[in-house]
């Protein structure tokens, strides 16, 4: 049976060399940045502007802030984390996974969105939604999962404030990220959704109507960025760039409020 052993070890050798090839590619990769899904378009522009201004390329991976936090806790190799809230970065800081407490880089806003052809009339007080709900005209309504996505939490707060939460609950479809919720709101038979204003501005504007929800109607979406323990020099420079005036102008253009 020694020949069989040769075959086995040869196969393992092939597998190991594949691994080695894969990891040698990794060695020269740009730093990985974890970013909340609402930044999908804004942060790409910030990263491009950073690269143009003499910085190096960075690689941005999007997800729900809660999902990314969990991945960082489990050892995911990110060097920086742009959250959609403060709670998740604070949790990482408390677990000593960050370098310092970080900074607030943007204030997020919610928008009520109705795709073209939807019976939903959008307004910032959500009166149209209340009426349609009472008339039984809301088949599906998209928000992000409040447990993993801060924008979902904010959406729930808005619906609760207007006394609509209990009535709309059976109609809600939860996106695992705010980007997926936006996907749900534009496709299929959803009447609309409470989405990130930044995504509406970047992608949904042309696909329906929207109204920006007053900031006072939900706990502020103070979005905090932290450097993680693995951060290298490029991530450090990108961190400072995100808080600088050029990046802040880009965030503002994408519908974010600027912290002061």
């Amino acid at each position: 049976m020694t020949a069989l052993k040769v075959v086995v070890s040869a196969a393992f050798g092939v597998a190991l060399s594949l691994l080695a090839a894969a990891s040698s590619v990794l060695a020269q990769r740009p730093p990985r940045i974890a970013a909340a899904a609402n930044l999908n378009f804004a942060i790409k522009e910030v990263a491009e502007s950073f690269a143009r201004a003499g910085g190096s390329p960075v690689e941005v991976v999007f997800g729900a802030s809660g999902t990314l936090t969990r991945q960082i806790q489990d050892g995911a190799p990110f060097e920086m984390f742009l959250s959609a809230d403060e709670e998740f970065p604070n949790r990482l800081a408390a677990a000593h996974l960050t370098r310092g407490p970080g900074d607030v880089y943007a204030i997020g806003r919610l928008a009520l969105f109705a795709p073209r052809g939807s019976p939903l009339k959008v307004d910032e007080r959500l009166d149209g939604l209340a009426q349609l709900l009472k008339a039984g005209g809301v088949d599906r309504f998209a928000i992000a999962n409040p447990e993993t996505a801060p924008y979902g939490r904010a959406a729930q707060a808005v619906l609760e404030k207007h006394g609509l939460w209990d009535a709309i609950r059976p109609r809600i479809v939860l996106g695992s990220t705010i980007a997926q919720a936006a996907q749900f709101a534009t496709t299929g038979n959803a009447a609309g959704g409470l989405l990130a204003y930044s995504l509406v501005l970047a992608e949904l504007k042309s696909r329906g109507d929207y109204a920006v929800v007053p900031a006072a109607d939900h706990p502020a979406l103070r979005q905090r960025v932290v450097l993680l323990r693995a951060a290298g020099p490029v991530a450090e420079r990108f961190y400072r760039y995100v808080l600088g005036s050029e990046a802040q102008a880009i965030f503002e253009k994408h519908g974010f409020g600027i912290p002061r």
């Binding site: 049976m1 020949a3 069989l4 075959v7 086995v8 196969a11 393992f12 092939v14 597998a15 594949l18 691994l19 090839a21 894969a22 990891s23 590619v25 990794l26 990769r29 990985r32 899904a37 999908n40 690689e59 991976v61 999007f62 997800g63 991945q71 806790q73 489990d74 050892g75 995911a76 190799p77 990220t177 980007a179 997926q180 936006a182 996907q183 992608e203």
Partner: protein, 222 residues
């Protein structure tokens, strides 16, 4: 088209096959020719990944090898890298998820060899290794080949485990199937469409290949 994701998918697929095939041939043959106590239980355990949601496997791997578990920390100290959210971890998860896809067709392949053929070979004075290489493997090859094709294709299509254990890292754990999901969420329907079409084409080609093989094997034996 995300070429990097295609590369990760292909490397993961061939890596999973390379890792599992020797084990699958040994174990599939063992299950085909031996009777032993508890064989039913062993066969059930081999099949379990087939009926288990990928999230179960993902959950256990994250809990066992995450940076917060003692096992995960020990592994990181030795290997210098955490197992979750790395290509190595993804390969391990993929190997576990694919056990039934490699063992079952191979077991069927060896089971199809009549007992008297094996006995005759033994009577002719062939060593076990010669018997395996000259008699059994050539007869069981359609099973072995369909194991290779099925495992490769299933790895390309795997989604839940990849997303949970891999974490969507470009160039390392973002496979083609995860890239489609990622593109969808970025409202890039075109990109998602191109990649979905290529995966569909690969899947159809795979099934045509396995069916053709099965037919050919049937003709030869019939």
């Amino acid at each position: 088209m995300d070429w990097e994701a295609l590369r990760v998918s292909l490397v993961l697929g061939s890596g999973t096959v390379a890792l599992l095939l020797p084990l699958g041939i040994w174990f599939g043959r063992l299950l085909a020719v031996r009777e032993f106590r508890g064989k039913l239980l062993v066969e059930a355990l081999v099949t379990v990944p087939l009926v288990l949601p990928p999230t179960v496997l993902g959950f256990y791997l994250l809990v066992a090898f995450g940076a917060r578990s003692p096992l995960g920390r020990a592994f990181q100290a030795i290997a210098g890298q955490a197992l979750p959210f790395s290509f190595q971890g993804l390969l391990l998860a993929s190997a576990i998820a694919n056990i039934p896809f490699v063992v079952q067709p191979i077991q069927r392949g060896f089971e199809a060899i009549p007992l008297d053929v094996r006995d005759a070979a033994a009577c002719c004075g062939l060593t076990p290794w010669q018997r395996f290489v000259r008699i059994e493997a050539p007869l069981a090859w359609p099973g072995i080949l369909s194991a290779v094709i099925l495992t490769f294709a299933h790895t390309l299509g795997e989604f839940g485990v990849v997303l949970m254990v891999g974490g969507n890292l470009p160039g390392e754990t973002r496979t083609l199937s995860v890239a489609i999901y990622d593109r969808m969420q970025a409202f890039d329907d075109r990109g998602a469409g191109v990649m979905a079409a290529s995966l569909l084409a690969i899947a159809v080609a795979t099934l045509v290949a396995t069916t053709a093989l099965a037919r050919r094997a049937g003709r030869r034996r019939g």
